[in-house]
Structure formats: structure tokens, C-alpha cells
């Protein structure tokens, strides 16, 4: 257990030191990554990109029926 703990601490310190000593371009790149992911997942995904079939229908069988209707032109 103690060995595993030391190993995990080593990994944590590896990342911690890496982020702490980021170069200026590294900081800029991370800022861009965070802004980009925020725009993609907190704005675009939530407000603009709803899964069409998931939001319109509650079950897979309803979704299947809808797509078959689209394909066959029935109803």
C-alpha cells in the first residue's frame, strides 16, 4: 500500500511540477484549450447541439420507427 501511495504521489508530483514550470507558450496553449473546451461543451453542446433523436423520442423503438418512416416515406 505504501509503495502504491508513493508511486501515486510521484505521478502527482510529476504533473504538478510540469504544470508549475510551464513555459509561456505552454500557458497560452492551456488557456486556449480550456476556453475551447468551455465553448464546445458548455455553450455549443448545451445550447446548440442537442441529439435530435434523443431529445425528440424517449425510447430506441420510437427512434427506429421514426427513422423507418423517414426511409420508407410511410405515414
Amino acid at each position: 500500500m505504501a509503495a502504491a501511495g508513493r508511486f501515486l504521489k510521484k505521478i502527482f508530483m510529476f504533473y504538478y511540477d510540469g504544470f508549475r514550470t510551464l513555459s509561456s507558450w505552454g500557458r497560452q496553449a492551456w488557456l486556449i484549450i480550456i476556453i475551447k473546451l468551455f465553448i464546445m461543451f458548455a455553450i455549443l453542446r448545451i445550447f446548440f447541439f442537442h441529439d435530435f433523436l434523443r431529445t425528440k423520442f424517449s425510447s430506441d423503438s420510437e427512434r427506429s420507427d421514426y427513422v423507418i418512416e423517414q426511409l420508407t416515406g410511410n405515414k
Partner: protein, 518 residues
């Protein structure tokens, strides 16, 4: 209903997908190729112990990091679009996409994310060999990630290894290996990744040339040109070889695309490959589609026949053969395929109806057809043609394909020459004397991106009107949503991606001007 779909919705959905895919592809090929260039450079460092190779590796790793950081996750937007704009398609492809994309996600996460951290944070913290192994694993992981998305893309051009389930309206994978070893997938993967290697090589040669023009970092620049020149030369030859085999495969699985790339309307034996020409509309029409003539055509006699059939006198069908049919060559007309597709679609409609009215006997008989080889091979195979109102709708844009194909191929051959010259001048230690070459190399960087994007334009515009070859046309794949919502997100994406690209270019230029620091 499909009949009520707004045409502008289809156009905006296509435009949005094209915009995001083109922008996404600005970041990807550099990651694919530069990752291997870094691995080569670091290998030389570990083997020789020469500190200059460490400095060189770390400099290019910085540019790799900028590109990686800004490009990462831009492909996820395409997946957003599948669910929102292309829901019929997303449902219809079923788990064919699910499995490869899941593997891609796992590989990307575990291989790239883990070892990229070691690559950037691990200098002087882990052993040289462990660091080198991490760099190689990032390169292999990035390229393996590309494999899975290209497998999914190739399936759309040559759908294999699946069975259509009429109850769920989904294609279910029945042979993972058929999907993975689909000849289109293998060829697409090798052609795409080697083109990424070539683009990255041109990028490294071009920036190194800039240093030599400015008489800065000359030792680093010359050594970088050596690595990128050799890698680029090998890659450019592989791009040509895989491009050649790609032509052979496309001529079989997407013959209309192939004939359109050549603006070949009338099939012939001993068909020549057009090197260059000017496409002009003629007065002739196929249905409502204008026929295009090629003026000032310069051809290599017989080469097209050799490329497709392996024989100089082999027959290459033209667009008219493929649309109107050519019984003597065993080519079905599109009208016949439309009839067969309509029959398959009627079977699906009757099956659904018989289930609804509780006619179990009829339903069981019709359901069995979707497992019957004769029905699948001769009728369901043409399911997508049932949505055409006229045969000419099977023809993609001939001018777009004709020009983008020639831009890609022409630049591809130019890059073979450029890389060969880079190696030649490096070997003779005359890089600095040949300033014309240095300027040429610098201005070739955007050309590499143009060639790469042109390749995708050939691929994706050439597949029109299909989203899944023969099974589903683009207009059937689209979701029944308002076109205004797609327009809004189109402009949001245009702004987001332009911002990302501007950030990438400005941060990169600053780093290049700063030069290596270590």
C-alpha cells in the same frame, strides 16, 4: 417527411460539416507527421548523445505542442454535428461507427494523453530511453487514432461487414475484421497518414529554410532538413504508390467518382490519364446535368487503363456508361438500380406495415429477405438509389473533382522533387548557396496544406450524392431541423475555428522567431 425538407437545410448542413472538417484537418496532418519526425530526432539524440539533437528535438516539440494543443478535440465537433444535423445517418450506421470511434477514443486518451505529458514534462525527470519510448508511443498512438476514424470513413465509401436490421433501421456489424480490413480503409489509412508525414516534412523543411535565409540556427536547420528531407522523400513516394492503388480501388467501388475525376464521359479502352486541361460546360446534358468538355487536354496515353485494370487496353467506363448502363460491359444503369432500390424500400415499408397490423406471417417472410443473400446483393445493395428522382442525380460535380484531383497530384509530384532536392543539397552541403531553393521550400508550406485539403475534397465531394455509397444519399441523412439553427452554428464555428487558427499561427510564428532556447 423527406419531401418537406428544405434544400437550404441540406446545403447549410453540408457547408457546416465541410467547414469544420477542413479546419479540423488543418491541425491533424502536422500532428501525424511531426510526431514521427520528433521520434527520429530524439532517437538520433539518444544514440549519439549529441546535445544538439536534444535542442533540435525540443524546438520541434514546442511547435508540435502548439499544434497539438490547439487542434485537440476539434474533431469532437464533427460528432456533435452527426447527432444534431445528420440524425438519420447516425441512426442508420448503427454500431459500425461506435466500435471504431470507441477504440479511437481509448487510444487517444491512454496513449496520447499519458505519453504526451511524459514528452513535455519528462525531460530530465525520466530516463532518456523512457522519454524516447514515450515520444514513439505518442507518434504511434496519434497515427493509430487516425486509423479508426478512417476505418469509419472508408465504410461510408464501401459498406461491408454489416447486416441491416429492418426492426431497428440500423446496420449491425457482423464482421469487425471485414470493416477493419476493408480495402478502402487500408488504402485510405496508408495514403492519409503518409500524406500527413509529407506535410510535416514540408513544414520542417520550410521553417528550417527560413532560418537559413535569415542565417540563424544554421546547424539546427541543416540537420532538421536532413531528417525531414529523407522522411519526406520516402513519404512522398509512398503517397504516390498508395494514391495509385487508391485509384484502382475507387474505380471499382466508386466508379462515378473516378470517371468524374477524369471528366471521362464515354468509356474507352486504352484510356489516357489527363495531366492537365480546362473543364468547360458543353451544350450537351445528361438529364439536368451539363456535360463538361476538357479543352487543351494533355494526356498520357493508356495510363488510366493501366492504373485501373493493369492493362493498357483495359476498358474504363465513363460517366454515360455508368449512368445509362452498358450491358456489354456488365454495367447496370442508374434507372435499373433505382428500380431495385425501390423494391428494397417497398419491402421495408411492407414489413413495417405488416408488423403494425399484426400480420406476423408476412412480417416474418419479409424480415427473412434482409438475411437473404440474393435480396441483399441484388436489391438492398441499391437501397439509396430509390431516393433519386432521376438518374443524373448520381453524378457529382465534375469541375470540382477534376481540378482538386490535379492540384493534389501535381503538388504531390512537386513535393517528391522538393524533398529530393532538400536531401541532395544537404548531402552536398550547398543548402545555404541555393537561396532560391530555400525560398521555394518556405513558400511550399501552404502548398502542402492545399494539397492535403484537395485530397479530402476529391474524397468527400466525389462521394456525392452519397453519404453511404449506394445505401443513403446525403439528403436522406439530414435531420428535420430548421436551416436557421444550422446557419447560426455555421458562423459560430467559422469564428471559433478562425480564432483557433489565428492563435496557432501567431503563437507558432512567435516561437519560430524566438528559436530554440535549450
Amino acid at each position: 417527411m423527406l419531401e418537406n425538407l428544405d434544400l437550404s437545410l441540406i446545403d447549410w448542413s453540408r457547408a457546416q460539416f465541410a467547414l469544420t472538417a477542413i479546419y479540423h484537418w488543418l491541425f491533424v496532418p502536422l500532428t501525424l507527421g511531426l510526431s514521427f519526425i520528433l521520434a527520429f530526432m530524439e532517437t538520433i539524440y539518444v544514440r549519439t548523445g549529441d546535445e544538439i539533437w536534444k535542442k533540435i528535438t525540443r524546438f520541434w516539440m514546442t511547435l508540435f505542442g502548439i499544434n497539438f494543443a490547439i487542434g485537440v478535440a476539434t474533431g469532437i465537433i464533427l460528432e456533435f454535428e452527426f447527432g444534431t444535423n445528420w440524425s438519420n445517418y447516425s441512426w442508420f450506421v448503427g454500431d459500425i461507427f461506435g466500435a471504431p470511434l470507441a477504440i479511437e477514443g481509448i487510444l487517444a486518451f491512454f496513449l496520447e494523453s499519458t505519453f504526451v505529458a511524459v514528452m513535455f514534462f519528462g525531460w530530465n525527470k525520466v530516463s532518456k530511453k523512457f522519454h524516447l519510448a514515450s515520444t514513439w508511443l505518442v507518434a504511434i498512438g496519434a497515427n493509430l487514432s487516425a486509423l479508426w476514424i478512417l476505418v469509419a470513413n472508408a465504410w461510408m465509401e464501401n459498406p461491408v461487414g454489416m447486416h441491416f436490421n429492418p426492426d431497428t433501421a440500423r446496420n449491425e456489424m457482423n464482421s469487425f475484421w471485414s470493416v477493419l480490413f476493408n480495402p478502402v480503409a487500408i488504402n485510405k489509412f496508408t495514403h492519409t497518414v503518409t500524406s500527413g508525414f509529407l506535410l510535416a516534412s514540408i513544414f520542417v523543411i520550410g521553417i528550417s529554410a527560413w532560418y537559413l535565409i535569415r542565417r540563424r540556427e544554421e546547424k539546427m536547420a541543416a540537420k532538421s532538413i536532413m531528417v525531414a528531407g529523407i522522411f519526406g522523400l520516402v513519404s512522398s513516394v509512398l503517397v504516390a504508390i498508395t494514391g495509385d492503388s487508391s485509384a484502382r480501388i475507387i474505380s471499382k467501388v466508386e466508379p462515378v467518382k473516378f470517371a468524374s475525376m477524369e471528366a471521362l464521359y464515354n468509356g474507352k479502352n486504352n484510356a489516357g490519364l489527363t495531366v492537365i486541361g480546362i473543364v468547360k460546360e458543353s451544350d450537351e446534358k445528361i438529364g439536368e446535368k451539363k456535360v463538361h468538355d476538357v479543352d487543351m487536354r494533355i494526356q498520357i496515353p493508356g495510363l488510366l487503363s493501366v492504373m485501373t485494370t493493369g492493362k493498357g487496353n483495359g476498358y474504363v467506363p465513363g460517366i454515360k456508361d455508368l449512368v445509362n448502363g452498358n450491358p456489354s460491359k456488365g454495367i447496370l444503369s442508374v434507372a435499373e438500380m433505382m428500380e431495385r432500390g425501390k423494391y428494397a424500400r417497398k419491402i421495408l415499408a411492407d414489413y413495417k406495415m405488416s408488423k403494425e397490423v399484426g400480420d406476423d406471417e408476412t412480417a416474418a417472410r419479409l424480415a427473412a429477405k434482409f438475411s437473404d443473400k440474393d435480396f441483399v446483393d441484388n436489391y438492398f445493395r441499391y437501397f439509396g438509389y430509390s431516393f433519386f428522382s432521376a438518374p443524373w442525380q448520381a453524378i457529382p460535380s465534375v469541375p470540382v473533382l477534376f481540378y482538386s484531383f490535379r492540384i493534389m497530384v501535381g503538388l504531390g509530384f512537386f513535393f517528391i522533387l522538393l524533398c529530393a532536392l532538400a536531401v541532395w543539397f544537404w548531402k552536398r552541403d550547398t543548402l545555404k548557396k541555393n537561396r532560391w531553393f530555400l525560398w521555394l521550400a518556405l513558400f511550399s508550406i501552404p502548398l502542402a496544406y492545399i494539397a492535403s485539403e484537395s485530397g479530402w475534397i476529391v474524397c468527400e465531394m466525389g462521394r456525392q450524392p452519397w453519404i453511404i455509397q449506394n445505401l443513403m444519399p446525403v439528403n436522406v441523412a439530414v435531420s428535420n431541423i430548421t436551416s436557421s439553427s444550422v446557419q447560426v452554428t455555421f458562423f459560430l464555428f467559422a469564428a471559433l475555428f478562425t480564432g483557433l487558427l489565428t492563435a496557432e499561427v501567431s503563437i507558432m510564428i512567435r516561437q519560430i522567431k524566438n528559436g530554440p532556447k535549450h
